[in-house]
């Protein structure tokens, strides 16, 4: 995965070709295809949409409609470290909201965005299925329970090296 880098036009075209082929160019598998594309490129580039539409025999509007509906698909590359801190009720009951606010402020990043230097992305998530061990979080996909500021900082630092 090429974090924080934009893919070139030919890379994008190649990736679309590969993932569509993997799914037999089946339009009903569009969401699987988008996941695979994001796994390869780190995001779903705007310029991939017309190529996808052509491959799958869909209109550009249809593809755009799907990409924009689902929260999972990033329109830009993520930072080197992606942090998800759950903001749903069970995690709120253990102080997730002030924790998130403070984490973002301390790291100079806005929820849902990537820091200017490309080091850190904070993404919103509603429930990680770890609600008995709240607040729950993930740092670059690594599950973490009962997080606090110190645990988050340590995990981010570790992920950056």
């Amino acid at each position: 995965m090429m974090n924080e880098e934009r893919a070139s036009a030919s890379e994008i075209e190649g990736a679309v070709e590969t993932v569509c082929g993997r799914h037999g160019n089946t339009p009903s598998e569009l969401i699987e295809i988008l996941h695979d594309l994001q796994d390869m490129l780190g995001y779903v580039p705007e310029s991939a949409l017309p190529v996808l539409a052509k491959k799958l025999n869909l209109s550009r509007a249809e593809v755009h409609g799907v990409v924009s509906f689902y929260h999972d698909f990033r329109h830009n590359p993520a930072g080197r470290v992606t942090v998800k801190i759950c903001s749903a009720e069970a995690c709120q009951s253990m102080g997730a909201l002030p924790l998130i606010e403070e984490f973002c402020r301390r790291n100079g990043v806005t929820m849902g965005e990537t820091k200017g230097d490309g080091s850190l992305t904070v993404e919103p998530v509603y429930c990680l299925g770890n609600c008995a061990l709240s607040p729950a979080a993930e740092v670059n996909g690594r599950p973490m329970a009962r997080v606090d500021a110190a645990k988050l900082d340590a995990a981010v630092k570790e992920a950056l090296v």
């Binding site: 089946t26 339009p27 009903s28 598998e29 569009l30 969401i31 699987e32 988008l34 996941h35 249809e62 409609g65 799907v66 509906f69 689902y70 929260h71 999972d72 698909f73 749903a88 009720e89 069970a90 995690c91 709120q92 009951s93 253990m94 998530v125 509603y126 429930c127 990680l128 299925g129 770890n130 609600c131 008995a132 061990l133 709240s134 729950a136 996909g141 599950p143 973490m144 329970a145």
Partner: protein, 518 residues
């Protein structure tokens, strides 16, 4: 002699460092020349004890938890491999109060076995239901499920047998079984625990549903937030195909059934069944108008059973032990058991499978041990983000679909989120609107606009602006959303809002803002 240890691979255990514990135990065993074998099981559901390390001594499992990598040398010093005593010892795992006081039917094997060990599954009653179903007619299977009283565990509580009957009796060369594993509700993780701890059980239930309805294909829609579930279920499907439990001749029935996984993409509304079907067809997750119901026109327009993970995973035990056995648990019209999930601000959080009828208090105080912070209990939200907030006075209510409904609450997917006295219920009402605004599919106005206006109104209340007028506005919006929404996203968002207003009016009684605040 080799000593067998069990250390969970469940997501919750991993989030507490189970892999580090495994590595530390391996290294220490090497150092000391101890001959051990580590089995990665699911979790028993005692999540406050994770990572829970179990040692098998003469066929009896002794538990130690919560273990961290730094405890490992000490455990060896205390001879834990022969069940030596240690500060982290919990004794014989299966004699622990938390487990003894449960009725584990759906979760009988979760936490006990390696989730992908076909032999272990078989030894503990796996396939009994499927083999029995393979010798029955579709109508007989359907009537067994109907007789058991099993109701949908995804939230709505609709009788599973009736849905199956509709699909079974419809003509059609292509029918589908779609398993809803979107589990978006905050406070719920039972679907995840089952998929990671006993995936064969879910797949066996789906295969039985296939035999009962004539469906030859099954799809599981798993939310993308659950990559571990996706991986485990994928491996379980492959293992079952190889063993002949899926494919052209399911368990010798002469009938075909195959299962595929579809990933969600971070949209809560895709847990609503028709939105899920749209998503599985590769489209935006916009809710469909009903009729037609999915049983008649579901996936790709074909007759489709949509059931929650827990509904389908409960089918094998019903077929194996009979409808009467299952029906003997529960109360009123809520038959059988429900895997309750105790979450949030609670000392001992985890999964408790109990017959319907257990009180909310037993779950929160008995099993849960009260709040994690040790502060007084204030509220619990039951049944996910669309469920009601209950107060102290409601804690003795029994968990039963009809009883809770009569009290303006709902069982939903069995999640219970506990809050202590620092919770601001106006803030929680605001969040209910905000969540609906973020997750609405946008198809109908009451939901799309109502949620946004509701959030604004609660903001004003919280800032002390025209409090009485804004409370009245919130009530009006709730009425419009309840009556005018196409699905339960908009239709039930008023439930948490109204219950917060009704049971915690003091939290909405904000002091008027200073004149300059506007």
């Amino acid at each position: 002699m080799t000593t067998t240890l069990y250390i969970p691979c469940d997501y919750a255990a991993l989030s507490l460092g189970a892999d580090d514990v495994v590595a530390a135990i391996r290294a220490e065993a090497d150092k000391r020349g101890a001959d051990i074998k580590i089995i990665r099981n699911g979790t028993r559901g005692m999540l406050w004890l994770e990572p829970l390390v179990e040692v098998d001594v003469d066929g009896v499992r002794h538990g130690y938890g919560p273990v961290s990598a730094s405890d490992v040398a000490g455990l060896f010093d205390a001879d834990f491999l022969t069940a030596g005593s240690h500060a982290l010892s919990i004794g014989v795992t299966e004699e622990h109060d938390w487990l003894v006081n449960q009725e584990r039917l759906t979760f009988a094997r979760v936490g006990v076995i390696d989730p992908l060990d076909l032999k272990a599954y078989d030894k503990l009653g796996g396939w009994d239901g499927l083999y029995r179903a393979a010798k029955m007619s579709p109508a007989e299977i359907v009537s067994e499920v109907t007789e058991s009283g099993l109701r949908g565990r995804g939230g709505a509580g609709f009788p599973a047998g009736i849905k199956w009957k509709t699909v079974s009796e419809l003509p059609g060369d292509q029918k589908y079984i779609c398993c809803n594993a979107d589990e978006g509700d905050s406070g719920t993780f039972a679907d995840r625990m089952l998929m990671e701890g006993d995936p064969f059980c879910l797949l066996e239930g789906m295969a039985i549903a296939g035999l009962a309805t004539g469906a030859t294909e099954g799809y599981i829609y798993i939310r993308s937030e659950y990559p571990h579930s996706i991986e485990t279920v994928g491996k379980a499907i492959a293992a079952m195909e190889e063993a002949g439990f899926l494919g052209d001749n399911v368990a010798g029935s002469g009938k075909a059934f195959r299962i595929f996984i579809r990933r969600g993409a971070g949209a809560y509304i895709c847990g609503e069944e028709s939105s899920m079907l749209e998503s599985m067809e590769g489209k935006r997750g916009t809710v469909r108008s009903k009729p037609p119901i999915p049983a008649v026109k579901g996936l790709f327009g074909k007759p489709t059973v949509v059931n929650n993970v827990l509904s389908l995973a409960t089918v094998p035990v019903i077929l194996a032990k009979g409808a009467e056995f299952y029906k003997s648990f529960g109360m009123g019209r809520s038959h059988g058991t429900l895997p309750f999930q105790i979450a949030g601000n609670v000392k001992r959080g985890g999964l408790v499978e109990k017959a319907f009828g257990v009180s909310i208090r037993d779950l929160i105080e008995g099993f849960g041990g009260g709040t994690a912070t040790g502060r007084p209990f204030k509220a619990a939200q039951i049944g996910g983000p669309l469920g009601a907030y209950v107060n102290e006075g409601q804690l003795d209510l029994p968990m039963d679909y009809e009883t809770l409904a009569a009290d303006g609450a709902m069982v939903g997917h069995g999640g219970i989120v506990v809050f202590d006295d620092t919770a601001d219920m106006a803030g929680m009402a605001r969040f209910a609107f905000e969540f609906c605004a973020i997750e609405s599919c946008g198809k109908c106005t009451p939901c799309r606009i109502g949620a946004v206006r509701g959030k604004e109104a609660v903001d004003k209340i919280m800032n002390g602006v025209d409090v009485a007028a804004n409370i009245a506005l919130v009530e009006d919006l709730c009425e419009v959303m309840t009556d005018g929404s196409l699905c339960a996203m908009g239709g039930l968002t008023p439930m948490p809002v109204r219950s917060a207003l009704r049971h915690f009016p003091e939290d909405f009684d904000r002091a008027p803002a200073a004149a300059a605040a506007e």
